[in-house]
């Protein structure tokens, strides 16, 4: 790293230097995740509680219609599995952005931002790192779910990977965008409630959208406009080796928009971060 800092900034960086930065950030995020065993456990317990307890009570809810990508009747737990996978990523995205607020409060962020590499790249690395961590959590969840008779086709475990990466990036960049506007750690809990819960409940994670439409057509439009719905559907189709093109487009566009907005927001000369000078004590 020291050799990098002595160079003149305007000169371009080599790919290996970018890689050094990327692996550094991913490695740190991975270490942080592994050292916080409670976080791993809680990341797993949350969806499993939904699966084992909530779904058990609603077992009979479905089984009355066949919704793509499913080709036959399914139990409720099979239906909510992709929603819970997306939930893991949603929480993870918010959590890693929470860690950005923490980093900023503790001053660790300066170490990151002192790197001469473009800020956009640094933030992208951070996003990738968060997504990688969420992948670990999701696959751990899938292994446990397999014993709970949630057995997508074997190829599905592979085809779901790109969908998970994309949705992980989208939710991570959304979290990053939100975190840029938060000055203190304490404020974050409120935002979690205002973002996570509405996003999760007003989506197709827990109930099929035709059911929502039956209850309230307006809520149906809200759900349709919710990018999280499309993240869930993208994962759901990919888990069965199919592509939901609309969801792919929505998630893709949202990822780009959120990411650009987050990078813009973290630019000290513009953006939301400007309000706190030096990005320090808040």
């Amino acid at each position: 790293m020291s050799s990098i800092t002595t160079r003149d900034v305007p000169r371009g960086f080599s790919a290996s230097e970018y890689m050094t930065c990327l692996t550094g950030i991913v490695w740190r995020e991975g270490l942080r995740f592994l050292h916080q065993r409670e976080r791993f456990v809680s990341a797993l317990v949350r969806p499993l509680v939904w699966l084992f307890i909530f779904a058990a009570g609603f077992r009979q809810v479905l089984g009355i219609s066949i919704i793509p990508p499913y080709e036959t009747y399914i139990l409720y737990e099979v239906f909510i599995a992709p929603g819970l996978m997306a939930m893991i990523q949603l929480f993870n995205g918010m959590q890693s952005s929470l860690s950005m607020v923490y980093d900023r409060e503790m001053g660790n962020m300066r170490t990151l931002l002192v790197s001469p590499l473009p800020r956009g790249f640094l933030l992208f690395c951070k996003l990738l790192a968060g997504t990688a961590v969420s992948l670990l959590q999701v696959y751990a969840f899938l292994i446990i779910a397999w014993f709970w008779d949630i057995t997508p086709p074997p190829i599905g475990y592979l085809t779901v990977l790109p969908a998970l990466i994309l949705s992980g990036l989208m939710l991570g960049s959304l979290g990053m965008l939100i975190s840029s506007g938060i000055k203190q750690l304490e404020n974050f809990a409120g935002v979690m409630n205002f973002v996570i819960f509405p996003m999760f409940f007003a989506s197709s994670a827990l109930y099929p959208l035709w059911r929502v439409q039956e209850g309230s057509p307006y809520l149906y439009y809200v759900c349709q406009a919710n990018p999280f719905t499309h993240a869930v559907e993208l994962i759901r189709f990919a888990l069965y080796g199919q592509i939901n093109w609309i969801s792919l487009a929505v998630v893709g566009v949202c990822t780009i928009v959120f990411m650009i907005a987050a990078i813009y927001a973290y630019d000290p000369s513009r953006g939301l971060a400007r309000r706190e000078p030096a990005g320090g004590e808040g």
Partner: protein
């Protein structure tokens, strides 16, 4: 199609050195061959299934290769019991409200003839040679015997009230009929056409099925919620299969159709409004798994290779496809209204 075997052959021995020069060329050639083998391997087991739709008065023809309804045949009022003739040339359908059995030509897929049954025929069975047909007439407590070659009625056998379940022992000597209201399985000697024994089972027996080795007769009781296992020699119930699904009322579990694998090791039992097929280990007579299918599942049929089991789901108007080896429901296909019976071309 003629070019395909050529590619297949090419995939097996390594291609001559002069023919394929680069490693990449070889790779793409191998890949092409693999794809072609995969494509040609698929339609090896395409069967045709016929499903009787009780309410829409039709028979749906399902292609088991594409799993789609290929054709819908108009038949008489209230078709229920459906079975292929042994030679695979005709499909016989019991037409309840028209008091007849219609015959569909499997080639032209059109109704070509009728057989004389009694009033309200529901289910029927035939002997191993396919010469004699036995029809349960729900409304007049009789079983009609029909000569399939002459397509003529040979006589009637008086049985219990509301006869339904029909099966014949593998040796063809004993005909079994269950009567829904009398709650009995009647053992009928096919030579004398006389009842030789009656076995009392649980309420509303709907269906009877022999093990292929003839050692046991299984009879499902719709209201009783059980399957009785009967020793056909001693004419006695020797065991019962019970069903229990967490979260479901006992009354919702109504066993009807039974399918037995050729090795007699596994039985599949349709549980009606429980919307499930029970997988039963025939040795222990315990349920090992419940498979979720459509609503009010009634009857079922195996494909001849026993790879798939197709079930008729009356209320949801569809047919579910079960992968027998994996014991998993892989697909559900929309058919006509109130699908009842199903048969697959041999």
């Amino acid at each position: 199609m003629s070019s395909i075997p050529r590619y297949n052959d090419a995939a097996l021995p390594p291609p001559p050195a002069g023919e394929v020069r680069t490693a990449r060329g070889q790779m793409s050639r191998m890949l092409l061959a693999t794809v072609l083998v995969a494509l040609t391997a698929r339609p090896a087991h395409a069967f045709i299934a016929y499903v009787s739709n009780e309410k829409s008065n039709t028979v749906s023809v399902i292609d088991t290769d594409s799993w789609t309804v290929a054709k819908t045949i108009k038949v008489g009022q209230r078709p229920r019991g459906i079975e292929f003739t042994r030679d695979g040339k005709f499909v016989m359908v019991a037409i309840g409200d028209d008091d007849t059995i219609q015959m569909i030509d499997a080639k032209t897929q059109a109704v070509v003839d009728t057989l004389p049954s009694g009033p309200d025929p529901e289910l029927f069975t035939q002997d191993a040679a396919g010469r004699t047909l036995y029809v349960a007439n729900e409304n007049d407590n009789t079983v009609t015997v029909i000569d399939l070659e002459k397509r003529a009625r040979l006589g009637d056998i008086q049985v219990g009230v509301e006869p339904e379940g029909m099966t014949i022992s593998p040796d063809g000597k004993t005909l079994i009929n269950t009567s829904e209201t009398t709650n009995m399985a009647h053992f009928i000697d096919t030579a004398s056409r006389k009842i030789v024994a009656n076995v009392l089972v649980d309420a509303r027996p709907r269906f009877a099925e022999f093990k292929h080795d003839a050692s046991e007769l299984w009879v499902s009781s719709e209201i009783g919620g059980t399957v009785s296992v009967i020793d056909p020699n001693k004419h006695a119930v020797i065991g019962k299969v019970n069903f229990e699904i967490p979260g479901l009322r006992k009354e919702a579990i109504q066993p009807v159709g039974i399918g037995m694998t050729k090795d007699d090791k596994t039985a599949f039992v349709a549980l009606g409004p429980a919307n499930r097929i029970a997988v039963v280990d025939t040795a222990t007579r315990k349920v090992t798994k419940y498979l979720l299918v459509g609503q009010r599942v009634w009857h079922m049929a195996f494909t001849p290779d026993e790879k798939y089991l197709l079930t008729t789901n009356g209320v949801s108007n569809d047919v579910s496809v079960i992968d027998v080896a994996a014991q998993k429901v892989i697909k559900t296909i929309q058919v006509g209204e109130l699908p009842w019976g199903i048969t697959i071309a041999p």
